[in-house]
Symmetry: C2
Subunit: 453 residues, 2 copies
């Protein structure tokens, strides 16, 4: 029996996300990113297509390495301007019933007390349909916004992240007992005080002595997404992530998923506790010919240089300063090679080859074809790379998601690769069969009655 | 000609706000505070009644002074649990066109960079209908959530607040020029890089070197509400506030508004730059008799002790520990007397009298009567206390706002005291005739071309 695939739309509350330049296409509506209608329309399209969720990327800084400044990013709207992604969720939730919302939030410059309330609020308002994509940030420009001179060092970010997670697990799982809220009008008791307690935490990075401001939400801890790709990042993902997103079209993703699953098992987690997601960029037509024509049409509007500028910040090297024919992996030795490969770029490529590969303005390789070809390739990748699902990146807005829903989803359903309809309940229940973190998850240790008492 | 009154609904994303205990009334729906439908329904009711806005209070701590702990607050849902108020706004905005959204946010434990993005996002998504009610917090329990042992000292909070405001003004007003975004598909330029600049700030409390993450929103700086009542608070309000909310039914509100307007003039602001809002609690029926019966019905469900518990935290004294017949003003000398009066309680009252006055569970004195009586009293108060409008507190949910819209609004309109319909444009334009901060406002100094360059 084929594995049932999970699908998220991969979006961002900005004009440019991955497919840079496509906002200039005459029919593209990416510039409507600040209109609520734009997002409620997308949410309706995705729910019509039985998508599991919309996964909203975020960045809280500017790509300012390329050519030594932010000019390329500003001119091309490379993820700047960008809205706070949490705030587009409530409007989308109000017009949907099942669609999940995976929201990226960088924990590095946040206070855990207020942060925990934000996600509990979203979990309440969406009736348990919210996921948090945990990121620790990588841009110095983001750190400068927070008053630092540069980003925390890589492994320090994850150590700080581990403690941040501990604090928010305590607030989400441990401050209110499951049955604290009784809302008993006769007895005039809304919540039982002896079932609510202050969380006291005193650690290296955070301290806190407070009752969580929110009553238990449907999932308590939001469903947790992670996308760590470094060794330390994989351990972090294997400990905390329930869904792990492996960005880029990595040739060795099978090795990565196997490695990740080994690390999760080592952390005491069950095999069914983890879903892996690959990334996917699709241009589909009713026929292969129509798809190819659509791709060529889109391509005329793409801006590969913007892709280079974004990639420069991702690897921390201004690619405009190097010989366009030298291999990327040799620019600064193996550090860059391994980093480039981690995020899906062949280290043997030259800057020129990389740029030429960015046919739709970004480093994802688009899959172009008739519905059958797309479905075949998705099944093949899922099988060979051990992926449970895909994050489908915005290419042309709104055509790409509409085309996928109209042309590919029915075929995936026919083949038993995709659900015919949603099941009821929270996002975690839809994906894993239960509302709360499983006992095997690190966060479960912080439950109000963790010891079964 | 009578002054046209401005009206906001005074709400909170919690079960109990001011009228404690009323959640137990059989028809009350306050326990639905975590349902989006509850808020979109309220928004529709308010827009039907041509309300200027919904003013959403917030607190980020627990009332834990009364009887030495949080038990009374938890049992009666005294503003706990409470959702993040920013997140209920987008769903309400999606179902309305004119209603404004005044959101309370405590700046004391926030990072200005991320904070500025949140309000810019809301201003974009609402198309310029957002206001920020600036508060600096007062609860030690809130400070403990942020990892401190107690709240910053009173005047320090305002000094820190002044610098916080300076930083966010710079981000909102000064990082992007008005015409930075060109979205020119032909030239393939989304924004002109030379019209965007990094904000560099290095101060006592904050430092920053970053481009604001959002393009100019319709109002840029959100409309600013303030509710300071102390001497330092009044100066802060006179400098920053465009709408000033004077909570409590203060006998000397006329003195306060005159004082406030003097301070605003001293800060260089024009007389028309400031609108004053009083608070109002109304129980209205088609007749005086019906109103009285409704009041007596509601009253049976009220919880005056919860009102005492909230008031204890407001003045920083556990009122359960004192002689119920001693004057409140003498409990700890004039500090408490003046503080109590500042927030609308007679310092000569005993705790017993205060509790008895809390007929609907809070310290606001309800106005009970037929529509004519309500309209008369509103006109009288507006005139005698120099108030431009009122924040109408939630009493019974949803009856109080529905009754007011159905019974009082038409009468106010008939009398020329309230608009027959909305005018177009942003919230600031609706109230003041312009979209952006006026030149006389402190924030205007930080514009991209402040010097006219």
């Amino acid at each position: 029996m084929p594995r049932e695939l999970r699908l998220n739309a991969f979006e961002m509350a900005s004009v440019g996300h991955i497919a840079h330049g496509l906002w200039t296409h005459p029919r593209d509506r990416s510039t409507r990113y600040a209109d609520l209608d734009h997002w409620t329309g997308l949410a309706r399209t995705l729910e019509r297509g039985k998508f599991d969720g919309v996964f909203i990327a975020d960045v809280s800084g500017v790509y300012d390495l390329y050519k030594g400044g932010p000019e390329t990013a500003i001119r091309n709207a490379i993820q700047i301007p960008i809205l706070d992604p949490l705030l587009i969720v409530p409007a989308m939730a109000a017009v949907t019933r099942h669609l999940g919302f995976g929201v990226t939030a960088n924990l590095s410059h946040e206070a855990p007390y207020a942060f925990a309330r934000r996600f509990s609020t979203l979990d309440h308002l969406t009736k348990g349909r919210v996921a948090w994509n945990i990121v620790t940030g990588f841009l110095d420009s983001s750190a400068k916004g927070a008053g630092l001179t540069r980003q925390f060092a890589h492994d320090d970010r994850y150590d700080r992240g581990d403690e941040f997670l501990e604090v928010v697990y305590k607030l989400w799982e441990g401050s209110w007992d499951d049955d604290a809220v009784v809302a008993d009008r006769e007895r005039r008791v809304y919540a039982e005080p002896d079932r609510v307690r202050a969380i006291r935490h005193s650690g290296r990075h955070f301290s806190l002595d407070a009752i969580h401001l929110c009553a238990p939400s449907p999932q308590r801890t939001p469903l947790l997404f992670q996308a760590g790709a470094s060794k330390r990042g994989l351990d972090f993902a294997a400990k905390h992530g329930e869904c792990v997103f492996l960005p880029g079209a990595k040739s060795d993703a099978a090795g990565v998923t196997a490695d990740l699953r080994r690390r999760a098992a080592a952390a005491g987690r069950a095999p069914g506790d983890l879903l892996t997601f690959g990334s996917l960029q699709v241009v589909v037509g009713r026929t292969a010919k129509e798809a190819r024509e659509k791709f060529e049409d889109y391509r005329r509007y793409a801006e590969p240089e913007a892709g280079l500028a974004q990639f420069s910040s991702a690897i921390g090297v201004d690619l405009s300063r190097f010989d366009p024919d030298a291999p990327i992996g040799e620019i600064r030795g193996d550090g860059i090679r391994s980093l480039a490969q981690t995020i899906g770029v062949n280290g043997d490529w030259s800057v020129r080859q990389l740029k030429e590969s960015m046919t739709l303005g970004g480093r994802f390789t688009p899959l172009v074809g008739a519905p059958e070809e797309i479905a075949d390739e998705m099944a093949r990748r899922s099988e060979s790379l051990d992926l449970d699902g895909f994050n489908l990146v915005r290419t042309h807005s709104p055509e790409s998601f509409e085309d996928f829903v109209d042309l590919v989803v029915p075929l995936l359903q026919e083949r038993g690769l995709f659900k015919a309809d949603y099941s009821d309940g929270t996002l975690r229940r839809k994906l894993f069969g239960h509302d709360r973190l499983p006992q095997t998850h690190a966060g479960a240790a912080f439950r109000f009655r963790a010891a079964g008492g």
